[in-house]
């Protein structure tokens, strides 16, 4: 097969309707970038959930002596109460595991996070004795916690149930909202891109109708006739994918690693190694979005 003709045609085709091609590339570029961003945000949410979701335990705070903050608490929770609570916790189908934390363990943890100076010596503001006993419950599914909370709540000796997941809620909210927004906008632009590719092909077929007519007459094979169109679609897709890839790389490099990862250190941020899925999705979606309408429409505009 004489490929020189095909490539000449390809070049002419790309030049002939340049402004339209640029518009298609830009639209496709943005929609692919947003698709990629959506995938990255999904991975990001996964990372956050992996870290915090595992640590997201529910802490059952037990009653302390002299704890006036809770009317249910008369005195320090005794062993019988603790056993009863532990039994309920272990019986719950939502619970993966549980762990009892003594006053001393709680105090040690506190000292890790806060300035030890306040907590030591004869004048310390808080001593181990001021800490409540706690039962730390790890859930099987971070989303399913109502059962355990309602069955433990109100048991004798339970002062409060601290659901740490609330703290991470805004983080998840933000990431998921952004992900949904990206994918929604991407979807709209994908529709626009599909329509534009279709129009580009219609225009290209119209501009080349004479050549196509002659090719059909002299017996050029269908694949040979459609090849310039397919290559045009592929070139558009390739440029868009490269641009989207660059934009996503910039996002990871400058947006996340260079900016957010510094200022929001406590969150595990996605790195290059996490961007493989996004790269694959973008690299497959791009060509699909241009080749599919091209294959469908060249059949329509170029009958054998």
């Amino acid at each position: 097969m004489q490929l020189r003709y095909v490539f000449t045609e390809l070049g002419q085709g790309l030049r002939r309707n340049l402004s339209m091609h640029v518009a298609v590339v830009l639209t496709l570029f943005v929609s692919l970038t947003l698709v990629g961003a959506g995938v990255l945000l999904r991975d990001q949410a996964g990372l956050v959930e992996e870290k915090f979701g595992n640590e997201f335990e529910i802490a059952v705070t037990l009653c302390r002596d002299n704890d006036r903050s809770n009317p249910a608490c008369a005195a320090e929770a005794d062993q019988a109460q603790i056993d009863a609570i532990q039994e309920v916790v272990d019986a719950s189908p939502e619970v993966e595991s549980s762990r009892f934390e003594t006053k001393e363990e709680g105090f040690e943890k506190l000292k890790k996070f806060y300035d030890a100076d306040y907590l030591e010596g004869p004048n310390a503001a808080i001593t181990a004795d001021d800490m409540p006993q706690q039962i730390w419950v790890t859930l099987k599914d971070p989303q399913r916690y109502e059962g355990i909370v309602s069955s433990v709540q109100g048991l004798d000796g339970v002062a409060a149930i601290n659901d740490q997941r609330e703290a991470a809620e805004p983080m998840f909210e933000t990431i998921n909202t952004l992900r949904d927004g990206s994918l929604l906008v991407a979807l709209i632009l994908v529709v626009a891109a599909l329509l534009l590719v279709a129009n580009t092909i219609r225009l290209a077929a119209f501009a080349r109708r004479k050549e196509i007519g002659i090719m059909r007459l002299v017996g050029a094979s269908t694949i040979y006739i459609t090849l310039p169109f397919l290559l045009e679609a592929l070139v558009i897709a390739a440029i868009s994918v490269v641009l989207a890839g660059g934009a996503l790389a910039a996002l990871i490099q400058f947006g996340i690693q260079g900016r957010l990862a510094d200022s929001l250190e406590f969150i595990p941020w996605i790195t290059w190694s996490d961007s493989v899925t996004a790269a694959i999705v973008v690299g497959v979606t791009g060509p699909l979005l241009t080749l599919l309408p091209t294959l469908l429409l060249t059949r329509k505009y170029i009958k054998v």
């Binding site: 003709y5 002659i214 007459l217 002299v218 017996g219 094979s221 054998v304």
Partner: protein, 229 residues
């Protein structure tokens, strides 16, 4: 080479069929005129040979194959065996004469060596020696039609189909084109030509098939245009 067996062709949404129970047999190497008034079905018959259209009923054979049953990916191969010439030349205005002829070979994937040999050879044969680098709009109508014939013939097809090839040309020029088609016919190529042109048909004395409202009303060896049967 070409056989129509009770071929009827109705275009959707039109009343009477464009071709009505047409049976014609054209042997290898024949030269056949297809005559008839405007709308009698000449172009339709030629389109059926090229499988540009399919018969509504009946069968069309080209080179022994029923072409309605040809898989559509085999249609290009059929068309490579048929050269086609039209009234309006259908040349690419942005290509030179040589490039126009070479185009027909390029797009069916012929090698560059073949193209280098065949194109000048064919241009010489149609009498356009030395005009290979001209653009179509620098040529007269007759010369443009010669380019079209060169393009149709460059792949040495078994059949040459010409739909009113002299329709846009003056009588003198037309005679030159007819001589060229006759020469091509003498190389063994079957030529089928639809025409309105009395003078030419009368002069050539070849087989004439006359259509009227889609029906064959005459099929005569060495006929004339206006013969009243």
């Amino acid at each position: 080479m070409i056989r129509f067996e009770k071929v009827t062709k109705s275009y959707p949404g039109t009343g009477s069929p464009a071709l009505d129970q047409v049976s014609v047999d054209i042997e290898k190497g024949e030269f056949v005129f297809l005559v008839g008034t405007s709308g009698s079905g000449k172009s339709t018959a030629l389109r059926l040979v090229l499988r540009e259209a399919r018969p509504t009923t009946g069968r069309v054979y080209v080179a022994g194959k029923e072409i309605n049953r040809l898989a559509s990916w085999k249609v290009p191969r059929l068309r490579r065996q048929i050269g086609t010439v039209f009234q309006d030349f259908r040349l690419l205005q942005n290509k030179t004469v040589s490039e126009n002829v070479a185009f027909a070979l390029q797009v069916i994937g012929r090698s560059r060596t073949d193209i280098r040999n065949l194109v000048p050879e064919t241009l010489e044969m149609v009498g356009l020696d030395g005009k290979g680098d001209r653009m179509p709009d620098e040529l007269s109508g007759g010369e443009q039609q010669r380019v079209a014939i060169a393009r149709a013939f460059v792949n040495r097809p078994m059949i040459l189909i010409a739909d009113e090839p002299t329709g846009n040309l003056d009588p003198t020029t037309s005679v030159g084109i007819m001589k060229l088609l006759d020469r091509i016919n003498r190389t063994g190529t079957t030529v089928v030509m639809a025409t309105h042109d009395h003078g030419i048909v009368d002069q050539m004395r070849k087989r004439v098939v006359e259509l009227d409202h889609g029906r064959v009303v005459r099929d005569q060896a060495q006929g004339v245009y206006g013969f009243q049967h």
